[in-house]
């Protein structure tokens, strides 16, 4: 059994003035050290889920656990929680506070009361790892969207959390910037941080994640490794989610040819397979 970083137990939440429940008995586990993708439509509860993880919203029923312990909503508890669990919002404009990447990355560290020398080092390291060193002193409104997103990520990464939650990180990016951002996220994962990404791009989720969670109208409908989740075609269709193109094409190959083989994870793997089998 894997260790869990975060767990939601039957969490219920209704926004004031909203008609339906945003979370309607959400039970969900995030395994430590993995790359988890949270799938679901807009309104399935992805953002609400994340806001519960950092204690901004408090469950109206059920509970949220961090490292096996129920969250402590006291002032100190929340402060510790938010140091351990970093949240990167969808729109970086809203997350960036100061005027240059260097200042902004240092902001979160400074408010944690760390000494200036450590702040400098950690900021430098975070900027470097996210490939922002050359841009470090450029005013933020001169950066491209992809660079802003990486800056927002750097700001969270610099505070050295155990988990980083990313709300639709790739939205609005062109393919090149998206690849760069995904690369940065992988870099961060490699330092031992658990990464959770909400997305509605099935292809990205399929090729990127180790663990997949499917939400629908405030509940978790499925969790598991990618191949297993996407093999459940019925559920995906019922929820109106697309099957990744690769899986879709793979499944349309005759069963005899697929037998005993793992479903390819990327176009590259699929191409190798096709090239080897049909020459």
């Amino acid at each position: 059994m894997v260790e869990l970083v975060l767990e939601w137990q039957d969490v219920r939440y209704i926004y004031p003035d909203a008609k339906g429940a945003a979370l309607a008995g959400m039970s969900l586990r995030i395994p430590r050290g993995m790359k988890t993708a949270v799938l679901g439509h807009n309104g399935a509860g992805k953002s609400t889920l994340f806001l519960h993880a950092v204690g901004i919203l408090r469950p109206q029923g059920g509970r949220v656990l961090h490292g096996g312990m129920a969250l402590d909503y006291g002032r100190k508890g929340l402060k510790e929680l938010r140091r351990a669990v970093g949240l990167v919002l969808q729109d970086p404009e809203q997350q960036l506070i100061l005027n240059t990447p260097r200042e902004d990355v240092a902001f979160g560290l400074r408010s944690a009361g760390i000494d200036e020398e450590t702040i400098r080092q950690r900021t430098e390291r975070a900027l470097e790892r996210l490939g922002l060193l050359e841009l470090a002193d450029r005013p933020i409104h001169h950066l491209s969207l992809g660079q802003k997103k990486r800056t927002a990520l750097a700001g969270v990464f610099a505070t050295q959390p155990e988990v980083i939650l990313l709300d639709e990180p790739a939205s609005y990016l062109d393919p090149v910037s998206e690849r760069l951002l995904l690369h940065s996220i992988d870099e961060i994962h490699r330092t031992g941080v658990t990464v959770v990404m909400a997305t509605h791009d099935m292809d990205t989720a399929y090729s990127w994640a180790d663990w997949i969670v499917v939400l629908d109208r405030g509940t978790c409908r499925m969790e598991g490794p990618p191949d297993q989740v996407f093999a459940n075609k019925e559920l995906m269709e019922q929820l109106g989610l697309e099957i990744p193109v690769i899986v879709d094409l793979w499944e349309s190959l005759p069963a005899a040819l697929r037998e005993g083989r793992p479903v390819p994870r990327s176009t590259e793997q699929f191409k190798v397979y096709l090239a080897n089998n049909f020459v």
Partner: protein, 260 residues
């Protein structure tokens, strides 16, 4: 919070009914609230709660909390309304005295506070009836009928369009600041707020530049023309109740005045 009244005003059962009728009715009730004697005022109060919560279908919980929140101003003013400093002995309930001076509540002041509470309550119920059953676009039509200058109506329209956008932006910025742990101490807090306001201003300017392009593309040449009023007429049943009720209230008020 910003969306609360707005959402309620669009969801109610009277939302699509003529805004002109509703504001006319509210205006008459405002007059009643001011000229009426306490029994008539009380009747107006109860009647309008019925109109808003009963006929309008506004949930009572937000209704009550809005009523209570608005009364906070009254409560805050109470000490000033009630407590008097008199240089010598005076009629009233003495709270404190030193030398010849006394701190007291005079009967006149107490009576005035009572009357005021009643009037404020009745007026609030008229006010809440209007804003909770009439969507803002309806109020714009009323403003047009009142012959407010076109430029004011246009500015109001543009503002309404961008209020929520900027409001959402500000809300997420504040969320982010909470997540990232703002600075400590008064000075740092003010500095953070200023940075936030500045960023919001930058966003506003960006919206401005974008909107200029967007409006031009749509053929905007300096004026926004409003369409004709497309709201439904008030159902007959309610119109009848409105007229009959108002007549009864007027008669009751007249009787009270004659009897005194």
């Amino acid at each position: 919070m910003l969306r609360r009244i707005d959402s309620l005003s669009y969801q109610g059962k009277l939302s699509s009914c003529s805004p002109l009728w509703k504001s006319g009715f509210a205006a008459v009730m405002f007059v009643m609230a001011y000229i009426g004697h306490p029994p008539v005022q009380l009747a107006v109060w109860i009647w309008l709660v019925l109109w808003t919560v009963g006929y309008g279908g506004v949930p009572w919980k937000p209704y009550a909390s809005l009523m209570a929140a608005s009364l906070l101003f009254y409560i805050l003013s109470l000490p000033a309304l009630l407590i008097e400093v008199a240089p010598g002995p005076a009629q009233g309930m003495v709270l404190l005295g030193w030398g010849t001076h006394v701190l007291l509540v005079t009967p006149e002041a107490a009576e005035r506070a009572e009357e005021l509470l009643l009037r404020v309550g009745v007026c609030l119920s008229c006010f809440l009836f209007l804003i909770l059953t009439t969507p803002f676009t309806g109020l714009l039509k009323v403003m047009e009928k009142l012959r407010l200058p076109a430029v004011v109506i246009e500015l109001t329209m543009i503002m309404y369009r961008f209020l929520f956008l900027l409001g959402d932006t500000a809300a997420s910025m504040m969320l982010a600041r909470r997540l990232r742990g703002g600075g400590r101490g008064f000075r740092a807090a003010v500095a953070d707020t200023a940075a936030l306001a500045g960023r919001l201003f930058a966003k506003t300017m960006e919206r401005y530049r974008g909107a200029i392009v967007g409006y031009t593309v749509r053929g905007y040449e300096g004026t926004i023309r409003m369409g004709p009023d497309a709201s439904l007429p008030m159902p007959v049943r309610y119109r009848v109740e409105g007229w009959v009720g108002t007549a009864l209230l007027a008669v009751a008020e007249l009787c009270i005045r004659l009897l005194n």
